[in-house]
Point group: C2
Chain length 113, copies 2
């Protein structure tokens, strides 16, 4: 995803998708890549080869629903969180937060609890 931090992002992609969608009505894939790029001033880049399969998996798992719509001659596939998706988004965010706290402790970036 990003240039060198590539593998740090492993495991965070689905959380990013769920969280971004949790804050908006709906988004389409390409929009997600642009939003992440914009928010990080180009430092974090989602690859399409990772993003689209991840979206399809979240949809298959019942966390997202999709509807295709043609805008300005191009087909966009809009995704939204399902009810389960909202629940799961919150749960995944808590887990990620707890993980980051632990990581910061181990890496001595903040005092031990």
């Amino acid at each position: 995803m990003s240039q060198n931090n590539a593998q740090l992002l492993k495991g965070t992609l689905s959380v990013i998708i769920l969280k971004l969608l949790g804050e908006r009505e709906r988004m389409y894939g390409y929009e997600i890549t642009q939003k992440v790029k914009e928010l990080t001033a180009g430092e974090m880049t989602l690859t399409e080869g990772a993003l689209y399969p991840a979206l399809h998996k979240l949809e298959a798992d019942g966390l997202l629903t999709a509807e295709t719509q043609v805008v300005e001659g191009r087909a966009r596939k809009y995704y939204s969180l399902t009810k389960n998706g909202h629940t799961e988004a919150a749960g995944r965010m808590s887990e990620l937060f707890a993980f980051m706290q632990n990581l910061q402790t181990v890496l001595n970036l903040k005092p031990a609890l």
Copy 2:
């Protein structure tokens, strides 16, 4: 590694090893697993199937040196950072820090830069 956050840890294992060794003269594998468990009150657990191959790779990459020593009848393999290891440890920590900053921004955990 941890129970559910398992895949969040992907990509962070080698940074954890380098950072822990950067703060100490030397450590052996089992000691690293115990130190991480201790620091996180058991919330983060390194599996041996991930740890030992990671140590071997870091050694093969010239970032660690190892020497085996028998203590209380058991063989311990102590690892230390090489000069390159110290440099790399610092670089990887910067990358991880930058990544975590970006992740926090994307996940709306802190105001955008």
